[in-house]
């Protein structure tokens, strides 16, 4: 139960307030929501990625994501970073053949890129990432893969995460704290 209470007292899990929160930028809401919908159509997850991949299976993806969630929790990163990481991994899986031994390398590098893009202070260092991989890969390998992923995606990192969409919807639907937590758990 201690885990649940820390979750509940964590500030980022609180319901975003509507009236006194200047960050909800109500004046621009209509245009922002239109743009977010347009973006999210483009970044939809395609099911044919695993028919395209020869070595990677759906089960391996879920194991990798479990591990990423662990690492993400250890580094105390933002939730937004996790969604961006998953989006990067999925998009790379769609367009690039990855071998079984290199899959974790791609995962950890995606986390590295996402945290560089999204985080304010707590960007993990490369040597820490090498450590969490149990020294399976070297620093140079991570940096090389970073360049590869970025050029594969063509620097397209601006995506709409499910979390951002939920925050928009909850303001229109006027969810209370309990239902908001349930929705966050579901995504």
């Amino acid at each position: 139960t201690s885990g649940v209470t820390t979750l509940l007292t964590n500030k980022s899990f609180l319901l975003p307030q509507k009236s006194d929160n200047p960050q909800s930028v109500n004046a621009y809401k209509k245009e922002i929501v239109t743009y977010m919908k347009e973006k999210s159509c483009r970044s939809n997850y395609k099911m044919n990625a695993f028919q395209f991949q020869t070595e990677i299976t759906e089960k391996m993806r879920s194991i990798l994501l479990d591990w990423i969630v662990d690492v993400h929790f250890k580094f105390k990163l933002d939730t937004e970073t996790l969604f961006l990481t998953i989006s990067i991994i999925d998009r790379v899986l769609e367009i690039h053949q990855i071998s079984k031994s290199k899959f974790q390398l791609y995962g950890v590098t995606a986390l590295f890129i996402a945290s560089k893009y999204e985080e304010v202070y707590s960007v993990p260092h490369v040597k820490d990432l090498v450590y969490v991989c149990d020294n399976a890969y070297t620093k140079e390998e991570i940096l090389a893969t970073e360049g590869k992923i970025i050029s594969l995606l063509g620097f397209d990192l601006l995506t709409t995460s499910p979390l951002r969409m939920l925050n928009v919807y909850q303001e229109t639907a006027k969810l209370d704290q309990k239902n908001y937590m349930l929705a966050r758990y579901l995504i």
């Binding site: 960050q23 930028v25 922002i32 560089k116 991570i142 970073e146 360049g147 990192l157």
Partner: protein
């Protein structure tokens, strides 16, 4: 290749010039083929914490472009400001926002290729211009900022040096500090003179208002032909803001605003709104 000129007279020099001019393309071609050089650096324009900006020429189209070189560190790979700038610039397609032509890697260093403009707003304001042009510039800047705000992006570094002017049309540049709006951000952004009071008091949950504050300062600078607040430190800047803006009718007591049109003052007043400051003080 060595060229020694003995007994040089005008005709010989002319011939040599002509030959050199003819083989110029061949030299460029070999350079681009051997070293994969498409852009030749002409001169350095500016330097910042992120890297260096060069003026360069495209060998293939002979176009003048600006090259922005990022420092790549061995330890951390691509810097986060480069990641943000490229991914944001790729999304923005607007006549008053700079276009990213391509990004290339020369000597293992990341370069951004962008259009080159030779004048920024500070230099532009040193000459006298018609009121019509100035109004047009203000309007276009506001349009560009609205465009990026509609995409949930904050620029965070609006200042006259980051607004380039070509044919009396403004172009917004330098998205190295901009990012998507998020609940937690660092307060150390924007140049001091254009920094909003919430940033000066170290607040990390700000929003578009910081861009609007910078815009208000820029518009006032266009009108008065000198920066509105010229602080030397963060405390000094806050004091200046407090001295000039005192109450809702602050511009009535200030002689330098007397010659300005009322509509103009309204615009500045809306941008430099003090709502946030009151929240902080209370």
């Amino acid at each position: 290749m060595q060229i020694v000129i003995i007994n040089s007279n005008a005709t010989e020099l002319y011939v040599i010039h002509k030959i050199l001019y003819q083989i110029k393309d061949i030299i460029y071609y070999y350079m681009s083929a051997s070293e994969n050089v498409r852009y030749i650096k002409i001169q350095k324009i500016g330097e910042g914490a992120y890297g260096i900006i060069y003026k360069a020429q495209d060998v293939q189209t002979e176009e003048i472009v600006a090259l922005k070189k990022f420092k790549l560190s061995d330890n951390e790979g691509v810097p986060s400001c480069a990641l943000r700038e490229i991914s944001i610039l790729n999304q923005l397609n607007h006549p008053n926002i700079i276009k990213l032509i391509s990004q290339i890697i020369i000597n293992k260093k990341l370069h951004l290729v962008m259009n080159y403009y030779d004048m920024d707003l500070t230099e532009y304001l040193k000459f006298n211009h018609e009121e019509f042009h100035l109004k047009n510039i203000i309007y276009k800047i506001l349009l560009a900022v609205e465009f990026i705000h509609n995409r949930k992006i904050i620029h965070r570094d609006l200042q006259p040096n980051n607004i380039l002017i070509t044919n009396n049309e403004p172009v917004l540049i330098d998205f190295g500090l901009s990012r998507v709006l998020s609940p937690n951000m660092t307060p150390g952004v924007t140049q001091l003179w254009y920094r909003a009071p919430e940033l000066l008091s170290n607040c990390n949950t700000y929003d578009y208002a910081i861009d609007m504050w910078s815009l208000g300062c820029i518009i006032a600078e266009i009108a008065l032909n000198k920066p509105l607040f010229m602080g030397s430190s963060e405390i000094h800047q806050l004091l200046l803001i407090k001295n000039i803006i005192n109450g809702n009718e602050w511009f009535l007591h200030n002689s330098q605003f007397a010659k300005l049109n009322n509509l103009f003052i309204d615009l500045i007043n809306v941008c430099i709104s003090l709502e946030f400051l009151e929240i902080i003080i209370s």
